[in-house]
């Protein structure tokens, strides 16, 4: 049944997971991973797969682990920083191990197209001592995902699939194969593994440690870790993931040097040694952090060998890999191009949609803060982070989901006044509640503005969990003083009245919450 389908890298993984017989898909939106979950979601009903967005990545991971406990297969999707949130569950699941196959798909964003950092998820897999697969193209994304389930079940370990933006968001045709049926319910009868009391955990951790040589053997033998020879042994090249395509591209498909392509981790040390025996110089071209390169260099390098890569500046340390960077690292001449016919091309950053409620909130807050010149808000992650730019100039921070609230509280403890925080409804549901509960218990003198636009707008208007009256009830339930909980529908037209509401709360020396409720215009457009 070899059919060809036109798929984004994200979708190729999703289809691979569906064809591997998953019973559940879990995740929290985040560019560039969102389309993975959404692809499964689009087919969930016909396939009988549970696919509902979770409140955050940790919840998603734990739900998948529960499905694995029950003996069935599942896929989890998140962006790289999402794994920071899910890390507790993830790292511990390496120790418990899994029952039904569990594949964590995490999309890194080298170059930070839409992220706060470019952390490399391969380190997480190494840290948790579990295998990691890294597809080089859409076809591998599909094939690897299918095999990842068998690998997960044979090792009884979670498997990480590391994607990067350029694969996640690039489309190509993919040949698909006969699907597998879903697994039956089959929970364990021995409850030892999943109960990480120290007595049990020591045993399980030992088991994980004992498995490491097996993981190493699998990497050595992996079809995705290939050492190919070339006529010119003046240097050898090590590449991971999609970088192998850039390498092939700059050499017109025929790389003259020996190449070790890595697509399965732990790093295949035997193959690296084999490459080092052939050549005196190795160039490491890594999409991500210099994980392989640091490992090869160790503390004192390899005697008699030159190792080049990100650590010696052969390849830029930061940013995304590109064919041009690879060409330069290989000493190939830069290609000529047509000269631009303008000296200066002004930037065109994204901005809030016309009619976005966030813009009105910024204007109102700006006015309400006018007695405190220069003061801005602690902010969070979502469309409203664009409030940093002119003409809004309304925020002074954005660190990680939920940080607006806890940072405002901390600043308030330090005497910063008025400490104002702004958070979106989805981010509040993701990581804001615990911070607010802490602030309320402490009666930290701060004001939280929850921007309830009824959706997860930034990532494409997914369904949010905390909106409308539900949100009000949640905030009440966290213990806010009802006199200091206000709900407004933000409009510039009602500036004076709303500025007063805000300023009164800014002046109050305790915790207050203002819910600014007005739907996202994109949501209205889509008829959601």
């Amino acid at each position: 049944m070899a059919e060809r389908e036109l798929l984004l890298g994200d979708e190729a993984v999703a289809l691979g997971a569906i064809h591997a017989g998953i019973s559940g898909a879990y995740g929290y939106p985040g560019t560039p991973s969102t389309e993975l979950f959404e692809y499964v979601q689009g087919k969930a009903q016909e396939e009988g797969i549970h696919a509902v967005w979770s409140a955050n990545e940790k919840v998603a991971y734990e739900e998948a682990l529960g499905m694995s406990f029950a003996g069935r297969r599942s896929v989890i999707s998140m962006k790289h920083v999402g794994l920071n949130v899910a890390a507790d569950a993830f790292v511990n699941s390496g120790v418990t191990g899994v029952n039904g196959g569990l594949v964590l798909c995490v999309a890194d964003d080298p170059g930070m197209h839409s992220s706060q950092n470019e952390q490399d998820s391969r380190f997480y897999a190494k840290f948790a001592l579990v295998p990691c697969l890294e597809p080089a193209d859409q076809q591998e994304a599909y094939d690897m995902t299918r095999k990842a389930y068998a690998l997960s079940e044979s090792l009884k370990l979670p498997v990480v699939m590391r994607l990067v933006t350029r694969l996640a968001h690039s489309r190509a045709d993919v040949a698909t194969r006969e699907r597998e049926p879903q697994k039956p319910l089959d929970p364990p009868t021995d409850f030892f593994n999943f109960t990480l009391l120290p007595t049990n955990a020591r045993v399980m951790y030992q088991r994980l440690a004992d498995q490491q040589p097996r993981l190493q053997e699998l990497s050595e033998a992996s079809e995705w870790n290939t050492l190919t020879d070339g006529p010119d042994h003046s240097r050898g090249i090590i590449v991971n993931g999609i970088a192998v395509n850039y390498l092939g591209e700059v050499y017109g498909g025929k790389v003259p040097h020996p190449v070790l392509k890595i697509g399965q981790y732990p790093v295949p040390v035997g193959k690296i040694r084999a490459l080092l025996e052939k050549v005196d110089e190795v160039v490491v071209i890594e999409e991500g952090y210099p994980l392989i390169e640091e490992m090869i260099r160790g503390v004192s390098g390899v005697a008699g060998k030159t190792i080049r890569g990100k650590l010696d500046g052969t390849v830029p340390r930061c940013g995304e890999m590109t064919p041009s960077i690879v060409a330069k690292a290989m000493g190939l001449p830069a290609a000529e191009s047509v000269k631009a016919s303008m000296d200066h091309v002004p930037g065109r950053p994204p901005k809030l949609c016309p009619g976005c409620a966030h813009a009105d909130v910024f204007a109102i807050v700006h006015e309400a803060l006018s007695p405190w010149p220069g003061l801005k808000m602690f902010s969070d992650i979502g469309c409203y982070t664009l409030g940093f730019y002119a003409p809004h100039n309304a925020i002074h921070s954005c660190v990680d989901m939920g940080a607006s609230i806890s940072m405002a509280a901390g600043a308030a403890h330090a005497g910063f006044h008025p400490a104002v925080a702004a958070i979106g409804d989805s981010t509040f549901g993701h990581s804001g509640m615990t911070g607010l509960m802490t602030a309320i218990r402490d009666n930290a003198p701060m004001t939280l503005i929850i921007l309830d636009n009824g959706t997860v707008a930034m990532t494409g208007t997914q369904k949010t969990m905390c909106t409308g009256e539900d949100l009000v009830n949640i905030v009440k339930g966290l213990g806010i003083d009802p006199d200091h909980l206000k709900v407004i529908e933000p409009h510039r037209a009602r500036m004076a009245e709303q500025v007063k509401i805000l300023r009164d709360e800014f002046e109050y020396r305790g915790t207050s919450v203002i819910i600014a409720r007005r739907p996202c215009v994109q949501l209205k457009r889509k008829g959601g």
Partner: protein, 257 residues
Amino acid sequence: MKFDIILAGVGGQGILTIAYLLDHAAIRKGLRFKQAEVHGMAQRGGAVYSHMRISDQPILSDLIPEGHADMILSVEPLEVQRYMNYLRPGGVVISNDEPVKNIPDYPQDPGVIDALLALPRAILVDAAGIATAAKMSKAQNMVMAGAATPFLPFDIQEYQPIIQGLFGAKGDHVVQANMSVLEAGWKVGAFTKALLDKGVSSAVAGRLVMRLDPLTLQPAMAGDLAGVLEGPNARAFLAGTGDRVACDAAMLESLSA
């Protein structure tokens, strides 16, 4: 055969629909393709682009290497300049002439258009005019896809089933209207391409096209026209403004005199 295109525009202009059309045309022809796109932050009125590669051989990189693009196809004229480092010598720029001025420092008129016409091989398309004439003001992207097609291994008719799939639910008239703007765009692309191929400069070809009724353009006339564009009548015509005239034998004769 390989053809590498940088698709450019501003969030909301529908460049991913152009990509969808070309992707599917390629796969229907049994060609290989890869298409890298941007999602997320970039979509809210910011600069957006896509790397699209079509070939009869397997394609390695999802990204087009700098200096390798055969075409920059842009739905906004300033956006072209952002990606010039990708265009290979001899490559063509096909751009909408309608600016999106959603930034405070957008260059003054006619700087952006003049800059485009100064490029060695540029084709300017009045996509707004063509789309509006067809009562499809949102379909500027389709006009641009049509204008690019004379350079691609596709006929306009090959888009029919894909357009049907995209817009069929909205009714036959929507499908037909999209096909007609694709066709109109194709004429501008084919006509200007023929002029450039005869050695006419981008600037002269561009000014001529701006003076003619786009729906009447006849690529077959490009050879004859190329021979007369240096004459005094032609120069006066090119420098003039006023109503667009039909591209026909009478026009050719008046320019030659």
